[in-house]
């Protein structure tokens, strides 16, 4: 019985390690293909438009309401200790460093990542990838590289949009609905929030974009078994991307703190 449990754990561990290894190799080949010839500029633009441009509205809307909700909760909490002047900087810090990149990453992983996995999965089961192979077209160069590049570049840009609209929402709530002083709101933010906090968030977003695009292209690329296989690949791509983003966020946060510490930057 106990031996069986250990064997099961061993099997599962080996399976996940193997899958992780395959993902790393796939990510490496996909990333390398970005720099191999021919450079697929038109494909990149097409995917950039799909991931970036078409996600604008949903990201802006989510950012706006996140800013409204978060600033109200922070206001309610700070009112108890009579520190409502700090609502602005606390919300700005939370959005720039954590909520901006994480929520944008999750939204884009769900919207664009799911579409990427479904599209590639459908191409795989309908033999379109085999067709590319036998036509002498490098599928990594044509299908994977442009998608990874487009996601990696567009996620930080969308995060900046999220940050902007979230702060806009916070400003509306704090100044117009709650009635705090506008000058204090901006002044406190300027005192506390540094530009590097924004870049910290954008850096995280860049990593999240890179991560979800590799996970989703990997799942779609290896889809099998008809429509059901495409559905599974899409589901696994989105779920794995979302969980990875949340887990990686914690480690990135510590990595950035470590970087500040090593460089002697006071946090």
């Amino acid at each position: 019985m106990i031996l069986g449990i250990f064997q099961y754990i061993k099997r599962q561990t080996l399976y996940y390690l193997e899958s992780f290894g395959e993902l790393v190799v796939f990510g490496w080949k996909g990333s390398r293909s970005i720099f191999s010839r021919p450079f697929r500029f038109l494909e990149f633009v097409r995917h950039f438009e799909f991931i970036g441009n078409r996600s604008f509205f949903i990201v802006a809307l989510t950012g706006l309401f996140t800013g409204l909700a978060l600033s109200f909760q922070v206001y309610l909490g700070f009112k108890i200790v009579n520190a409502t002047n700090l609502v602005g900087p606390v919300v700005a810090l939370g959005i720039a460093r954590e909520l901006g990149p994480v929520l944008t990453g999750l939204i884009i992983a769900a919207r664009a990542g799911g579409a990427i996995a479904a599209r590639l999965g459908s191409m795989r089961v309908n033999e379109q990838m085999d067709a590319l192979d036998v036509m002498g077209v490098d599928t990594f160069n044509y299908l994977i590289g442009p998608r990874i590049l487009a996601a990696t570049i567009s996620t930080p840009l969308l995060t900046a949009i999220f940050d902007f609209f979230a702060m806009f929402g916070a400003w509306i709530l704090v100044v117009f609905l709650v009635g705090l002083d506008q000058a204090v709101f901006w002044d406190k933010i300027a005192q506390v929030v540094k530009v590097r906090y924004l870049f910290e968030g954008l850096f995280k977003a860049l990593v999240f974009g890179y991560l979800f695009s590799i996970v989703c292209t990997f799942k779609g690329y290896h889809a099998k078994g008809g429509a059901q296989g495409v559905g599974e690949a899409t589901n696994q791509g989105v779920v794995n991307s979302m969980v990875s983003i949340i887990v990686l966020d914690y480690f990135l946060m510590n990595l950035i703190r470590l970087f500040y510490y090593v460089m002697g930057i006071q946090d």
Partner: protein
């Protein structure tokens, strides 16, 4: 006789233990139309993918147009595959490209020396060659019938004037009228270019025996019988006779 494809003692296993292909030897004479037939699960598609260089043999050699495929790097293989054209079972057209764009695709990828107008001219001529009317050129694959999709797939396979054309179960799932149309298309395409080698994987015995110069029947990962259609009808091999009886009866 010169051979376009030679398989020497090819073994293939996907898990390291069970072999799908077991020491297969097979030759495809250059300029011939060859059909590969056999019961389901006998390794027809696997052997096709070896010929296309999509799979690598666990053991043995696969020679195509005088080149042993395992010796080619990924990049060389990509280059080498320009000599192939493939008509897939599902036609495998890119669903976000129009019919004309699908046929232009291999030209855009590999004939960068051509102008856009020249590519369109070649693609249009290939589409006309397979009997597709101009009114369908700007439609998406989802807007045309299954037969038209096959024609488009064949036109795309012909775009680069390949030396070998592979047909992967070209008539599976089609009605009798379309099946006959596709069969005639394969034959006319093969005859239209002297020296063109055609390899067809098929379940359709009528088509295989009507069209092919040579037929290879696979069984249990090996070639059970290779010969002309007459050799098959004259064979006293029990499995061959059973397969023929079932195949023709079904038809």
């Amino acid at each position: 006789m010169e051979h376009a494809i030679v398989l020497k003692e090819v073994w293939k296993s996907f898990n390291g233990n069970d072999f799908v292909i077991k020491g297969m030897n097979l030759v495809v004479p250059r300029g011939s139309l060859m059909a590969i037939i056999g019961f389901s699960g006998t390794g027809k598609s696997v052997i096709l993918k070896h010929m296309l260089g999509l799979y690598r043999a666990t053991r043995g050699e696969v020679w195509v147009l005088g080149q042993e495929l395992s010796q080619l790097s990924h990049k060389e293989m990509v280059e080498f595959r320009k000599k192939f054209g493939v008509l897939f079972q599902s036609a495998a057209l890119f669903d976000d490209l129009t019919v004309l764009e699908n046929v232009c695709f291999p030209l855009v990828e590999h004939r960068r020396d051509l102008s856009r107008d020249e590519m369109i001219k070649i693609a249009a001529s290939k589409l006309r060659q397979v009997g597709l009317a101009e009114e369908h050129f700007f439609k998406l694959p989802s807007e045309i019938s299954g037969g038209m999709q096959k024609r488009t797939g064949l036109a795309r396979a012909l775009a680069l004037d390949p030396e070998i054309i592979f047909y992967d179960e070209p008539t599976t799932g089609l009605d009798p009228v379309l099946t006959e149309m596709v069969d005639d298309l394969i034959l006319s395409t093969h005859r239209s270019r002297p020296g063109l080698t055609s390899v067809m994987i098929s379940h359709d015995l009528h088509a295989a025996f009507r069209l092919a110069d040579y037929v290879a029947m696979l069984n249990a990962g090996q070639v059970l019988l290779f010969g002309t259609p007459d050799d098959f009808f004259n064979s006293d091999n029990e499995i061959v006779q059973k397969f023929l009886a079932k195949g023709f009866k079904k038809k």
